[in-house]
């Protein structure tokens, strides 16, 4: 039941020291008279609390169990971060208030920027982008503006077939034509194809490294040399940086623009779909293109720099998701140099461990060591009439969130692959139990496939019909009343 369905006229959880005075308001604002009443639910505070408390209980989260959703880096979200982000000295700050009154917040932002520069090897950063895709758009707009100023015929962007969907979408949204680069038989960029495609109409290549199959791009040095030599730039999708901290830096590998997903690598909670934060780092020659304003430190005073002559402009109403940035800041401060290294090391060991345990049942496409995640195939189970989707749904009955499924989509990963990313937060026992469950399910697939086909059984709802939703489009309470 939705809140509208629970609504009773005259009820209210409203607690303010004034009452509706419509007449007075209409006297000031005659325009009000034109609006019809906008129905909102009327519900008591207790019923509101029960409604959302029970909804929250139906949700799976990192705090309730193992969430090996590949590419999403569902690591532990430290509770201290939430406490800091709820500090009224941060939450009750108006973004347009004078910088001199906000030295604490600005210091936090500046120190975060410095840390990110060091971690990635980039020269400057904007903290403005709200999520990964927003960061990509920011980065690609910077490249677009740079090319407009320097080499306007470069209108194409190369993107590997293994890339996350946001990469081509962002490139296209930044005004580029997208050209797909195939992968080679080791899961990396096909160098011959790249050689052919990388001509003087190409502005940049967007790479994710480790890529979406969890593999480090072995030819990254050659790629960087080739692309740079032919006048292109390198864009780094930092969604998978969790594998590399303290080990190797995108900036040192030749990348010119980098975005980071703080809601992945830097432990800010995803909130069921954001908000995140995705700072974008650039090499010095692009720093003037960053969106304004940029937080800087001058003579010990923190302030906003609006003077970036080539700026692409603004990506949002203010300066980005400060409360999310604060969480990532606290995380980085607490992990420190050794902690970040230990994080990436543990993330990589964990992924390889899961791969080792599961390979006999769900073979990886290549038997190469992986970085932070591993892509495994469930193709073999089609002979029992069971798909990867069925296996995933069955995992829920065992108390697990399924891995990312049916991604990436490129050969030889085209079908039935799952992308498992344990992250460093998980203990050996958790991974052992998870792998046991998957192995048991692989057994069930042979012996009792119906168990999988009808899964999940132990969830608040059984399998949800996606087609029905699309056919009978009901996306609001108003639509329900209509039917």
């Amino acid at each position: 039941m939705t809140l509208y369905e629970k609504s009773v006229a005259g009820r209210s959880a409203f607690s303010f020291g004034f009452e509706e005075d419509r007449a007075a308001a209409e006297a000031c604002v005659p325009e009000f008279a034109r609006a019809t009443v906008k129905p909102l639910p009327q519900i008591s505070e207790l019923d509101l609390v029960r409604h959302f408390t029970n909804l929250a209980r139906t949700n799976y989260g990192v705090d309730t169990g193992f969430y090996p959703l590949g590419s999403c880096t569902m690591k532990y979200n430290p509770k201290i971060n939430e406490r800091m982000a709820a500090d009224p000295r941060l939450t009750v700050r108006h973004p347009l208030d004078d910088a001199t009154d906000n030295q604490g917040v600005l210091q936090m932002e500046f120190e975060l920027k410095e840390s990110l520069q060091e971690i990635t090897g980039m020269d400057d950063f904007t903290l403005q982008p709200a999520c990964g895709a927003h960061g990509e758009l920011t980065g690609m707009l910077i490249i677009h503006a740079y090319m407009r100023d320097h080499d306007a015929k470069r209108t194409k962007v190369l993107i590997p077939d293994s890339a996350h969907g946001t990469n081509p979408a962002s490139a296209s949204m930044a005004g580029f034509q997208v050209v797909t680069v195939p992968s080679n038989e080791r899961g990396g960029v096909d160098m011959d194809a790249l050689d052919k495609l990388m001509d003087d109409t190409v502005a940049a290549i967007m790479l994710t490294n480790p890529n979406t199959v969890g593999l480090f791009e072995e030819n990254i040095t050659q790629i960087a040399e080739l692309v740079h030599a032919r006048g292109g730039l390198l864009y780094y999708d930092g969604a998978n940086l969790n594998a590399l901290m303290g080990l190797i830096r995108p900036g040192d590998l030749g990348f010119d623009v980098v975005h980071l997903n703080l809601h992945k690598t830097f432990a800010t909670p995803h909130g069921g779909g954001g908000p995140g934060a995705a700072p974008v780092g650039v090499k010095k020659f692009l720093a003037d293109y960053l969106p304004i304003p940029v937080v800087v430190c001058r003579d010990g005073q923190y302030t906003f720099d609006e003077n970036r002559p080539h700026t692409i402009g603004r990506m949002s109403g203010f300066y980005g998701n400060t409360a999310v940035l604060a969480r990532a800041y606290v995380y980085i401060k607490m992990m420190g140099r050794d902690g970040l290294l230990a994080t990436s090391r543990a993330a990589v060991i964990n992924a390889n461990y899961v791969k080792a345990l599961l390979s006999p049942y769900f073979p990886p496409a290549y038997d190469r060591p992986v970085m932070h995640e591993t892509v495994l195939s469930a193709k073999g189970y089609d002979k029992y009439g069971v798909t990867l989707l069925d296996i995933s749904k069955r995992l829920m009955d065992y108390g697990y969130h399924p891995p990312t499924i049916y991604f990436p989509h490129f050969p030889p990963y085209a079908e039935e692959v799952m992308m498992v990313e344990p992250t460093e937060s998980e203990s050996k026992e958790t991974m052992d139990l998870f792998c046991d469950a998957l192995i048991k399910i692989s057994q069930e697939a042979k012996e009792n496939p119906d168990l999988l086909l009808s899964a999940p059984h132990d969830t608040v709802v059984t399998r949800v019909n996606e087609t029905y939703a699309a056919r009978h489009l009901v996306t609001s309470h108003r639509d329900k009343k209509g039917t």
Binding site: A25, V29, D63, L247
Partner: protein, 457 residues
């Protein structure tokens, strides 16, 4: 790497022994795994970052840092896109339940009904408040949502030109320009009239000049003034452009008319006022509502009602074929993660204040601004500009008090001082060379208002 073996990082459970056991099972040493780096420049000697802080050290560091901000504020005379409203305790309490906070995007509906239903409720609220047919489950913020609206209009209408009212929030305008620039879409500005509203003559003449994909108007506009959206809508449709309404102050949705009744094709704005803190600019909440006929064109995610195998009500993400993970470069937007938790928060807030409460809040905001303005005018140092135009909770005043003076007079009052407008934004008032955009919400209790007026008398 001895420190790693000691496992003194409380967020990493593996002990040295366990990692050894795992590596044994893997059959490799860690250095073998990272052999793939070979030939590449690894970080030598560690990152140049300080040692990690423990939680108690972190708290101390944070406290010292945050004490560098000025003291607590009880209300804000500063609006201009971010608004200080009261947030009932129940709102953050519910929105921060672990089940909501630590989930990812609800790709697996069977274990994500909490997020999905909450977003469906948010969409329902947005449909009602904007009076549109369909609302997505959030964009990043009002500015980016507005920019995406114009991109969508361009996809639909194809004309390489959009019109934007001069009275739109300048940061929104800047964002629009940034988004549209690479597509070669001209962004032309429609002039403001003497009343601080969109000039209907200029709108008409610009629309007649050449084809436009869309016209963007904000109401209440940047100067706090309520635009005549109905009249604008009629004009826009006469020229076959899409009409995009936008708002920065969602509290106005309680009483103002938006949407289909004005001929709007898209309503966008920021929902920060709906139970979200200002947090120095973010995360806020992008609202995006449109008509069903555009259900293949709009950006962002949307939740639909469906059924499970037993025929029970169940929610699931729908209309996915527009999205980047399926359509890649042909998607209606690159947006992937959005501001779902803030949408959920807004749903809790609206559920909490309810129908009459939300209207009461809107009324109170109007009343508070009127009190503030009459109080300011009574000091003799202020006069309202655009007196004849209705305002919601923001208005422009001209003043004899200069910005630095304003700040120092208000230093002892726990309010954010108002925004000083640059010269030329509004017409000059005789003897009052400075102009401010002032804001008043329900937070400006009478006693606080008195303090403000006392300081400015």
């Amino acid at each position: 790497m001895q420190s790693i073996e000691r496992n003194r990082f409380s967020f990493i459970p593996a002990t040295g022994d366990e990692q050894q056991a795992m590596l044994q099972k893997i059959g490799l040493q860690f250095d073998d795994i990272v052999k793939c780096f070979a030939g590449n420049s690894c970080v030598e000697g560690g990152l140049h970052l300080p040692d990690g802080l423990t939680e108690d050290q972190m708290v101390e560091y944070w406290d010292t840092m945050m004490s560098r901000n000025s003291g607590p504020r009880k209300a804000s005379l500063l609006g201009a896109g971010a608004y200080m409203h009261f947030i009932p305790a129940v709102v953050p309490h519910l929105a921060s339940l672990p089940g909501f906070i630590t989930a990812y995007t609800p790709y697996q509906p069977e274990i994500s009904q909490g997020t999905l239903q909450s977003l469906f409720e948010f969409q329902s609220f947005m449909v009602e408040l904007t009076d549109m047919e369909l609302a997505n489950c959030s964009m990043y913020d009002g500015a980016s949502s507005t920019a995406e609206a114009l991109l969508m209009a361009h996809r639909v209408k194809k004309a390489d030109r959009v019109l934007v009212a001069a009275t739109v929030n300048p940061n929104y305008l800047a964002t629009v320009r940034t988004y549209l620039e690479p597509h070669g879409i001209a962004v032309d500005v429609v002039r403001m009239n003497d009343g601080g509203r969109v000039s209907m003559e200029d709108l008409e003449s610009q629309l007649s000049a050449s084809a436009c994909s869309a016209v963007l108007v904000q109401s209440p506009n940047y100067l706090g003034i309520i635009e005549d959206l109905g009249a604008i809508g009629t004009t826009v449709h006469a020229h076959d452009a899409l009409f995009v309404e936008s708002f920065t102050e969602a509290m106005a949705l309680g009483l103002l008319k938006y949407g289909v009744g004005n001929g709007a094709d898209i309503v966008v704005g920021d929902g920060q006022s709906l139970g979200l803190s200002m947090s120095f600019g973010g995360p806020h909440l992008g609202v995006f509502a449109t008509l069903k006929k555009y259900n293949r064109d709009f950006p962002g995610r949307i939740v639909g009602e469906s059924i499970d195998t037993k025929g029970r009500q169940a929610f699931v993400m729908t209309l996915r074929a527009r999205e980047q993970d399926i359509r890649r470069e042909k998607a209606t937007s690159n947006i992937c993660s959005n501001h779902a938790l803030n949408a959920l928060t807004a749903a809790v807030f609206l559920g909490s204040v309810g129908e009459s409460g939300f209207r009461a809040l809107a009324c109170e905001n109007v009343a508070k601004l009127q009190k503030l303005i009459s109080g300011l005018e009574a000091t003799g140092h202020f006069t309202r500009v655009f007196k004849q135009s209705s305002v919601f909770n923001e208005a422009v005043v001209a003043s004899s008090i200069a910005p630095e003076d304003m700040r120092s007079r208000l230093a002892g009052v726990p309010v954010f001082p108002p925004l000083a407008l640059a010269r030329g934004v509004v017409p000059e008032t005789q003897g009052m060379p400075h102009t401010y955009l002032v804001c008043a919400t329900e937070m400006l209790k009478d006693s606080l208002l008195e303090q403000v007026l006392g300081a400015l008398s």
